[in-house]
């Protein structure tokens, strides 16, 4: 059932396919969509990497990785290049993905229109007619009132020139990585019971205006561990007086740059 939903999602890029989400050994909202997608595509020869906020060592990532190691007896890895399946929450790894990889997103809210249209029935009609003017109005209002679009993550995209889609709450920094990505991206929203996908080499355009182009976050700092200037950074609060430091959110990328061999 989930595999059929995935096939349909791949066949209609960006379209949200309803599926009968099941109760998982995690609470809905903690990655049950990703868990179900991963479980349905995982094979004997796969190597699974699980990240949360970019990191392999955060509690939820550790918990999900342990779960698959236990119930599926699958090989796990922290190294992006070695993984065949990467389940992620909130980040796309810094290292470019390949055509041999699948990235599975845990999605809290697959409906990009939910921000201002709470009713599912209305949102479905808008998708059917591809009348996304309301989203552009939202962007316009933000720019005119606040000087910029007040969406820093889960920044809406148009997939394959047709469907408006939510890239899940990745920072918009990661949006360009979706454009013509070599890896298949599957988005599983367990609580909301939807799966959508972006097949490899598909056009993904972040919404913008000709005279107000889409831009990503830029950091003044670099990683205080590896010195990277091109990665997304986590702020570390050093004290309550405002002293801060920044480190790579992608722990595997940071470790690799520092020449560390992480455990396979």
């Amino acid at each position: 059932m989930i595999r059929r939903a995935i096939l349909k999602a791949v066949a209609v890029p960006g379209y949200q396919v309803p599926f009968g989400s099941r109760e998982m050994p995690l609470p809905p909202g903690w990655g049950t969509g990703g868990l179900q997608v991963t479980a349905s595509i995982l094979g004997r020869d796969d190597r699974l990497k699980v990240i949360d906020q970019g990191a392999d060592d955060t509690t939820n990532a550790v918990s999900i990785r342990d779960f698959f190691a236990k119930v599926a007896d699958v090989t796990t890895t922290e190294r992006t290049a070695e993984a065949t399946i990467i389940q992620t929450r909130h980040r796309i790894p810094e290292r470019a993905l390949t055509e041999d990889q699948i990235i599975v997103f845990q999605v809290p809210q697959p409906e990009p229109l939910r921000r201002f249209i709470p009713e599912e029935t209305v949102a479905r009609k808008i998708h059917a007619f591809a009348r996304y003017g309301i989203m552009y109005v939202r962007l316009y209002e933000d720019i005119s009132q606040l000087g910029q679009v007040a969406m820093s993550s889960d920044y809406p995209v148009i997939v394959n020139g047709r469907y408006l889609a939510s890239p899940s709450p990745i920072p918009k920094f990661d949006n360009p990585k979706l454009h013509r990505s070599r890896a298949l991206a599957i988005f599983g929203a367990g609580r909301e019971r939807r799966i959508h996908a972006i097949p490899p080499f598909t056009d993904v355009k972040s919404l913008d205006f000709a005279d107000y182009p889409f831009t990503v976050q830029r950091f003044e700092a670099c990683c205080s561990l590896c010195g990277a200037q091109d990665s997304y950074l986590d702020e570390i609060l050093l004290d309550d007086r405002g002293r801060r430091a920044f480190v790579c959110s992608d722990t595997a990328y940071c470790a690799e740059r520092r020449g560390e061999r992480t455990e396979a």
């Binding site: 109760e23 998982m24 050994p25 995690l26 609470p27 906020q53 990191a55 955060t58 509690t59 939820n60 550790v62 918990s63 342990d66 779960f67 236990k70 809210q109 939910r114 921000r115 201002f116 249209i117 709470p118 009132q145 606040l146 007040a150 986590d234 702020e235 570390i236 609060l237 050093l238 004290d239 309550d240 007086r241 405002g242 480190v247």
Partner: protein, 394 residues
């Protein structure tokens, strides 16, 4: 045969005996002790204390036993007892900065001053039934974690436990300390804090009244409202800036002595959320706060409370109030499980007098409806361009 729902004394007495029999269950199975409930169903005890507004683990456990585990009923039992107690004073606001922290997370940053402390949580357990618990006790040796040395668990907060970590936290840690980004907390002020158990809430409500009502509010209802506001019915995107669970001292100034005296500790869960607020242009865009505090370990409730608290500040912050979770009257009037349960369940009381009255009216209306239908329709439907005739003489 004529049956009646009149309850004679005998019927009520028999009903109570049946209830007692069911409460006891199979007599071959050992009777459950109040201490067992207090120690082993401590999260249920915490919820009953919290929504029952009375910090007494033993009485809350008793209420749970008496109510056969029906928590709403247990909350009612506890509140009914509470209202008989003399009010001999008001404690100082508890200082949660001085809390002996058992669990503490802040999800806005990977690392925060004071550190993250996972503590006891189901969050990272895999929800797979543990058949080992079918047996008597778990086989893990937990003696290195024994609280207080006397084997008592969450119910007894008299002694800071060795497994708790006394962290030097400030009230506003992490991102909350960023006064440039996050709105200032309200000052304690000298104004007398409302007591909604004595004075009714009037609308529009004040925040102290709202926080009290939310603390007593039904967890499920508040969570549902909080969920609705997160899913889109009142766009509300929170971050957990601080979630603490631990023991806080209660200090009371005793009039006869006129000095503040520590009279015990409360185990509480405190939650502070921050919400991106662009506002109406009068203030710079910033994070605004939501606040939740409950007795015992109740993270789901404390979080829901904080998010609904922020949601109810919509009007104050210049947001359009369009959805239930933003409407103080809607939320506060319907969040109390004892009140809600009472009205819903009163439907089981006899209603034959008012039902009879309604049925008579219905018969009359049906007769008039039938009479209208018998006449040709052209005469009964008034023309749009004609003022309806009013014929009082008929």
């Amino acid at each position: 045969m004529i049956t009646s729902i009149k309850g004679g004394e005998a019927a009520i007495a028999a009903s109570h005996r049946l209830l007692a029999k069911r409460r006891r269950g199979n007599p071959a199975v050992a009777d459950i002790g109040v201490n067992q409930i207090r120690e082993q169903l401590s999260l249920a005890v915490d919820r009953v204390m919290s929504e029952g507004s009375l910090y007494d683990p033993a009485l809350a456990a008793l209420a749970i036993k008496q109510a056969e585990g029906d928590l709403t009923e247990a909350i009612y039992l506890l509140r009914a007892f509470r209202t008989t107690l003399a009010r001999f004073g008001y404690a100082e606001p508890i200082d949660t900065a001085a809390m002996v922290v058992r669990r503490r997370i802040a999800t806005t940053h990977k690392d925060v001053p004071g550190g993250q402390l996972l503590g006891p949580t189901y969050d990272y357990t895999h929800r797979i039934l543990d058949v080992a618990l079918l047996g008597e006790a778990g086989s893990d040796d937990l003696s290195d974690l024994v609280d207080g040395g006397d084997g008592t668990n969450e119910g007894d907060s008299s002694d800071p436990a060795p497994d708790a970590v006394a962290l030097a936290l400030t009230r506003d840690c992490g991102v909350l300390a960023r006064a440039d980004l996050v709105e200032e907390p309200r000052s304690d002020g000298e104004e007398k804090v409302a007591d909604i158990t004595r004075d009714p809430v009037v609308f529009p409500s004040r925040r102290d009244e709202r926080l009290q009502a939310l603390a007593r509010g039904d967890e499920g209802f508040l969570m549902g409202l909080c969920y609705s506001s997160m899913r889109g019915y009142g766009r509300n995107h929170p971050f957990v800036a601080e979630l603490r669970y631990g023991d806080a001292a209660v200090v009371l100034t005793i009039p006869e002595l006129d000095i503040p005296v520590g009279i015990g500790t409360l185990r509480v869960t405190e939650c502070q959320t921050v919400h991106l607020t662009t506002g109406d242009g009068s203030l710079p865009p910033r994070y605004t706060r939501g606040y939740g505090l409950v007795f015992g370990h109740g993270e789901r409730k404390a979080l829901s409370m904080a998010i609904v608290d922020r949601s109810l500040r919509s009007a104050e912050l210049g947001e359009r109030v369009a959805y239930p979770a933003q409407d103080d009257e809607f939320v506060l009037s319907h969040s109390d499980s004892v009140a809600a349960s009472g009205l819903v369940q009163h439907l089981k009381l006899p209603h034959y007098v008012d039902f009879q009255a309604e049925m008579q009216m219905l018969d009359q209306m049906r007769a008039e409806h039938a009479a209208r239908r018998e006449k040709p329709s052209s005469e009964t439907i008034p023309e749009l361009d004609r003022t309806p005739e009013v014929d009082c003489a008929d």
